[in-house]
Symmetry: C2
Subunit: 284 residues, 2 copies
Amino acid sequence: MTGAGVWVNGVAQAHIAVADRAVQYGDGLFETIRVQQGRAVHLPRHLARLRAGCRRLGILAVPWDTLQREIADLVAQHDAAVLKVIVSRGSGARGYRAEPGQPATRILSLSSLPQRPAGVIDTGVRVMICNTRLAHQPALAGIKHLNRLEQIVARAEWDDPGISEGLMLDCDGRVVEGTMSNVFLVRGKGLLTPDLSQCGVAGVMRSVILDCAAQQGMPCEIRALTLDDVRTADEVFVCNSLIGIWPVTLIDGIGKFDIGETVRALPGLCALAGNSEQSNWYSS
Amino acid sequence: MTGAGVWVNGVAQAHIAVADRAVQYGDGLFETIRVQQGRAVHLPRHLARLRAGCRRLGILAVPWDTLQREIADLVAQHDAAVLKVIVSRGSGARGYRAEPGQPATRILSLSSLPQRPAGVIDTGVRVMICNTRLAHQPALAGIKHLNRLEQIVARAEWDDPGISEGLMLDCDGRVVEGTMSNVFLVRGKGLLTPDLSQCGVAGVMRSVILDCAAQQGMPCEIRALTLDDVRTADEVFVCNSLIGIWPVTLIDGIGKFDIGETVRALPGLCALAGNSEQSNWYSS
């Protein structure tokens, strides 16, 4: 299992059965993982979230040891890439009812790292506020499942390459996340990030940052956040496993933000906290 | 294109590309259509809903004439079957952003009609109330998209074959639909059915019944419905394109219902109203 491509249940093939419940219903979960120097970065965190998602959806027949071995084999030869892991409930009969114990399907796709502008730490990125709202669905909140139409509809709201991300609000107008990232505010010496118990994906980079902050004694509050909280923040950044951290310098209709000490210091702090594989977060 | 099986973009094959956005994100729509005597029953209504869904999601590169011809060819040899039509946004690069004009993928799957107990018109069915709630998402309400985890989680709530359907409430406790059906109440000489502007799928059989009722001068109200409305109804039924109408005689925790004149008369009324192909709704 070397080279870029797609593997389904350990076999190199770029297709899956139409009867697979990923195709029929989006009945599964995924992880998008950065590959660096032959390693899947933060793999234990990604696998922990994937397992939590599978438990939540009752996808129980997943050969975790096999999956982990396949990932390790696949990424070993790669210096810089993106690994996407999909786990679906597998193929079954027509209808929403799942057969208990139906073998899960595992799909590994390896692709190139997306080209990103260099020097984002100095320039920051421009962000817009999407009109598409996130629905409150506690049964699915937090996990990274395959039902992603809300994000697709939101991402279709802009085509301007100068806009790097869109912030999404929930049905009550609270700020939840970006279409492909989590969001943090810096206020004074502390961090604020939205509560995700009603909607949103609890990102792996978000969890790394929260752990860093805790280890560094940096105050960090997880709560409902309004656009006023954003407006009055000292710094704003978005994050995910591929981009690391992007400082936000402009939010359309909200205002401009400086790139301050906290955002500049975070990668180093996280490295000190034992996440050294992320020390070049800004390079992509 | 004859015989049971699967066709992807006109080619008999039971698999699709992993890169297809149906697999990656549930980025598409579907229809489940009853095939009877070589015809796709209520095809114009199914295609109209599919087109409306594609428009809503911005899936614009669908060769509608080709799809319609493929459906007609496929069902011509079949006396009784189920045709599932999936239209996805097609394959694209990684990420939520869709390439404009990316060719859609069309998937036709033909399978046997599910075995249903005979005589449901006389016995009715037993229904439960699901704990899983439907989220309010007006951007996706009404259309039959491929993001169906809410229905899957709800359908996993029961395994008792004596329970034929689960009713789903929204986050405000209003009755919206069944996991695989729409719901109607009979009160006096009129019908009541839930408003679907915030969540739910606007079923083809629901639209047939609404049109029948209008043509017959039967009062029909579409509005938010509570469990108290259900409790005090004279009759209750659920419907979809495969089952037609199922009278509900027991809702766990709510009460028992009679099978009255209105439910018994509806298929005949709809036949009079020009939907004669549905005159044996109860036979499956």
